[in-house]
């Protein structure tokens, strides 16, 4: 979400890192305005008339502030000015066009790099002692905003206030959301220092989820990537046997859509997703360029993964071994899963656009190819190989069609490799 805001600064000829110079009160209020603006997102896909992407037509308006009557100002507008981060305009942020926040998988992939725990340790050291470099004025503003926004209780009645006596720990809350939506867990444990007093291991986020866990997500997702790769391989095959089955690809997309939408019924997880992707986008944006804090830590590099490795080394930690792939995959997989959830690939003709050049889908094809390459590299799963069966040798598709109903829970397999990720080396 903060990367969207950075993009808006960039379109106004300002550096993206201006986001870090905005007062945290304004940023906090902007988050509430961004939430409310989602009500104007146009409906996508075939189900016109439906509200966007959150599982309920009303969830945004049910949770936002009441609209002010004519002549009354909304309470505490963000007053953001995209041409000057040190200015307060007194107006709410214009929501045209509105912004869409990333899919929950974005938060999962970014957290799997280890960035949150590494930056938490950096911040801790900066505010409790003098073991790191002294900060520039801009670095100091990053520290203040980061601590205010992500390491203290959020302001009362803010959209970001998802912690309470009932779920006191945000780390556990994030893992609970990942587990329910994907049956994924970050590969690193919660560092001992940050475990809540009543910490019970992974039961802390798995307990009481009931049957509401998408245990079959990984299997269907990898099968979708395999089938799309088969389509890419055969895209220009006009004469030989072609095992691509566009209806099967559509079935897989629908199975994933149904599975994810089951977790969103009535707008469940909408607010949690908003908070978690917002948090991770702040740290992703921090490392996406040589931002003030990166410069202060002397961790300049050419990409987010290398900057993370340098920062982690300073505080004696190690990021995920495949953090580069995870950073790059996050944005791509987020857009694709949003599109699948919205039903953009529900029919065979629509599913063809994932692998067949039809004139105007070059960007979509490029995204799919990158997702396949990055997922394979990040997880070590050989997506591009055909499935070999005992009966018929190499088989393009399985006998049974995919079903969105959950299968028995498998042992969790983390996406990020990296033993030691998030731990002291």
């Amino acid at each position: 979400m903060f990367r969207n805001l950075a993009q808006l600064f960039a379109t106004n000829q300002r550096p993206k890192t201006d986001v870090f110079l905005v007062h945290p009160l304004q940023l906090g209020r902007w988050l509430d305005e961004a939430w409310a603006a989602a009500a104007t997102v146009p409906p996508f896909g075939p189900s016109t008339g439906q509200a966007p992407f959150l599982g309920s037509t009303d969830i945004v308006s049910e949770l936002d502030l009441p609209a002010p009557v004519a002549g009354v100002q909304p309470p505490v507008p963000s007053g953001l000015d995209l041409t000057n981060p040190d200015v307060f305009t007194g107006a709410t942020f214009p929501a045209s066009p509105p912004l869409i926040w990333d899919h929950l998988v974005y938060a999962y992939l970014i957290e799997s790099t280890g960035v949150f725990e590494v930056m938490a340790e950096v911040l801790r050291r900066l505010v409790v002692g003098e073991t790191l470099n002294s900060l520039s004025a801009k670095g100091l503003r990053w520290v203040r905003a980061t601590e205010e926004l992500f390491f203290r209780d959020p302001p009362l009645f803010a959209i970001g206030g998802i912690t309470s006596q009932l779920r006191p720990d945000l780390r556990v809350a994030r893992r609970n959301a990942y587990w329910r939506m994907f049956a994924f867990e970050p590969s690193h444990a919660i560092p001992r220092r940050w475990r809540p007093p009543s910490f019970t291991g992974d039961e802390a986020w798995k307990a009481d989820t009931g049957s509401g866990v998408n245990t079959g997500f990984r299997e269907k997702w990898v099968e979708l990537l395999r089938q799309v790769w088969l389509g890419i391989e055969n895209a220009k095959n006009g004469i030989g046997p072609n095992a691509t089955d566009r209806e099967y690809v559509a079935f897989l997309c629908k199975a994933i859509k149904d599975m994810l939408n089951m977790r969103r019924r009535g707008g469940q997880l909408a607010r949690e997703e908003f908070v978690h992707v917002t948090t991770m986008s702040w740290f992703h944006l921090t490392l996406e360029s040589d931002s003030p804090i990166v410069l202060d830590l002397k961790a300049e590099a050419t990409n987010a993964a290398d900057r993370l490795a340098k920062v982690a080394q300073i505080v004696g930690m190690a990021p995920a071994a495949r953090s580069r792939e995870l950073f790059e995959l996050s944005e791509l997989m987020s857009a694709l899963l949003r599109a699948i959830e919205l039903g953009l690939f529900d029919s065979g003709a629509q599913a063809e656009t994932l692998y067949l050049p039809v004139g105007t889908n070059a960007k979509l094809l490029e995204d799919m190819n990158k997702i396949i390459d990055l997922w394979q590299s990040a997880t070590g799963e050989r997506v591009k190989d055909r499935v070999v069966t005992a009966v018929s040798g190499t088989s393009a598709q399985p006998v049974r069609l995919p079903s969105p109903s959950p299968s028995p829970a498998p042992a969790p397999v983390p996406v990020g490799a990296a033993a030691g990720n998030g731990f002291r080396s």
Partner: protein
């Protein structure tokens, strides 16, 4: 060192060479046909070329592609342009900075099964904004989906959700 003379070019009168040249011509012609088919792959009625490979999106595919592009733009991804800003003024909708190849708009009111497809009003000199005048959808209706389309009905931009006109 003895200089060798270059090999003699085959004589056109040589019957063996003539036969080979004919064969080569036939092979070249066949290859040319294949190359033409691959290059042109001219679109058939269903958007598929002579080899069965699509050369242009069907309307439903074009809708999917513009939706994905708009979604990516709203997610903040650079390089994606699928959204157009719009506002409602009475029975008109004004599309800001409409792309030049847009000639018509699809407008669908909430809970309305059939969209209204209308030609864009004539362009205003010196402005890139384009307007449409709604005929069927009343000012009191919320509009869920707006699309700008080309003359052959391919959607190219997605507009915002619009509240009833004051």
């Amino acid at each position: 060192v003895t200089a060798q003379s270059p090999p003699q070019s085959p004589s056109p009168a040589d019957p063996t060479v003539n036969v080979s040249a004919d064969k080569i011509d036939q092979i070249l012609a066949a290859l040319h046909n294949v190359a033409t088919a691959l290059a042109d792959n001219a679109a058939q009625g269903d958007g598929r070329g002579s080899l069965g490979v699509p050369t242009k999106p069907s309307p439903v595919q074009a809708g999917t592609i513009v939706d994905y592009t708009a979604l990516s733009q709203l997610l903040g991804r650079p390089g994606f342009f699928g959204v157009v800003s719009a506002e409602r003024r009475g029975n008109k909708i004004v599309f800001k900075n409409a792309p030049p190849d847009a000639t018509k708009a699809l407008v669908q009111a909430d809970r309305d099964p059939e969209p209204e497809v209308v030609e864009l009003d004539p362009p205003i000199p010196g402005s890139e904004d384009r307007t449409v005048t709604l005929r069927r959808i009343g000012n009191d209706r919320s509009i869920g989906r707006t699309e700008l389309r080309t003359s052959d009905d391919i959607p190219i931009r997605l507009g915002p959700r619009l509240r009833p006109s004051p």
